[in-house]
Symmetry: C2
Subunit: 265 residues, 2 copies
């Protein structure tokens, strides 16, 4: 099954959608947060009839497990440029996530001034990077659904040799598709291994409290370059900042998430 | 009136609050976005009985003008660490903002590993910085409610000499209070002049679509150091990233907002 099939939703009317959590998108049985966000993002975009999640925030309430799930959308405001939409996802009788987003069309940009003070991450060619679902070490099931190749300098954590920098860089693509659409960007923004895995800290699981994604442009066909960094591991929290760049060298999406840093056992 | 008085709310029961938008917190008649977020943050914290907005996202729907306003809170989840709360603010019969946040107590941190790969902004002493409500140039009314002193290198835009870097740095404090509490941090994260004013681009008004704040710690008494930067002005949007640091040298809050960059007239 493709990403597009696995994030398809069925409109039940009155803002309700069947949005089953498909098999194989999990890590240790719990669906990946980016996959869940893509699923609800698809429902929200359908509901408000605007294609692009310009900014979308999710609060993760409980793990989503494979099986039936329902999404309930509410349009809060219908503006000229954007619709503001809220969303609840439930599965197994529990709230899985709550989302709030602004949807519009990225074609409607006003063509104003441009200025970029940043560069895409430098990466070795894809064939010299490390396929995330290959070989030994950390390779959760959901990574088999994507072409995710880590920068060799950032892949050592998989064999017990973290880089010492709280950073993950690599290539991202969805198999069977020539480009990643804005819904696919939501997946790409939460598909990479946690930056903390490279930080040489006694931290394992870092559950996401909140994730906000900004989609800045529709990617051109081809691979995306990704960079995720963490600057602050403090007070039991960390933030993770993400960027996705397309083959035209444009930033296409940004993210920031707040995650818990549990005390080591 | 103090910030604390001007963000006080009255609990009407069943999640409803009177939260009037007080005079003088505006720019050209429209209340500052950070002030509005503090007002609803106060209502949300009261509603869920958790003091600190650990992460709070607001979507700005229409300008908030001085006068009566109602906030309606809904607790989505009561967890052990956090309550997840949604919120609508209405004034003059229109939705002003919609917020979604996780509230808890920043005292409950697990005391896990710490790592910081960043430093507070270097600033000249307060007395050598530029009071934002003084003198000529950009000094909107709401800035009179706070001690906001800009780094001299970032203050030239006020007299038509922008620095050329999309950055704002300075000191922040609330008069009559020895420290900024977490609700006050929400104000501090959206009180500085827009970074774009220093970018030498033909951009004036940049309305905020969405603002997400992470409160990472309660500040110690004293001044806060602030830094705001923008790296991407593209496709009719910009992001603005904020940091507030306390006098103990700790990051106490982070923010990112997505704003529109209207086409020049």
């Amino acid at each position: 099954m493709s990403f597009s099939d696995d994030t398809s939703v069925r409109d039940l009317g009155e803002g309700r959608f069947d949005a089953p959590i498909r098999p194989g998108w999990d890590i240790a049985g719990n669906a990946n947060g980016g996959y869940l966000l893509a699923l609800v993002g698809r429902a929200m975009a359908t509901h408000c009839r605007r294609p692009d999640p310009v900014t979308l925030t999710a609060h993760y309430l409980s793990p989503g497990r494979e099986g039936p799930a329902t999404v309930r959308c509410e349009t809060i405001k219908e503006g000229r440029r954007f619709a503001t939409v809220s969303d609840d996802m439930e599965a197994g009788g529990r709230g899985v996530l709550r989302a709030l987003g602004a949807f519009g069309s990225l074609d409607d940009g006003p063509g104003g001034p441009e200025r970029v003070d940043a560069s895409p991450p430098e990466l070795p060619p894809v064939e010299d990077c490390i396929h995330s679902a290959s070989g030994e070490g950390f390779a959760p099931p959901f990574m088999r659904h994507m072409d995710l190749h880590l920068h060799p300098e950032d892949a050592g954590f998989r064999v017990g040799e973290p880089s010492g920098e709280a950073r993950m860089r690599g290539w991202f693509r969805l198999p069977g598709s020539d480009r990643v659409d804005p819904i696919g960007l939501l997946l790409g923004l939460d598909a990479f291994p946690p930056t903390i895995f490279n930080a040489r800290l006694p931290v394992g699981w870092t559950p996401t409290v909140e994730l906000t994604c900004h989609v800045r442009a529709r990617p051109v066909p081809g691979w995306l370059r990704a960079r995720f960094t963490t600057r602050f591991v403090t007070g039991g929290f960390l933030e993770e900042d993400g960027e996705l760049w397309d083959e035209a060298g444009r930033l296409v999406a940004q993210s920031r998430q707040l995650a818990l840093v549990p005390r080591p056992d």
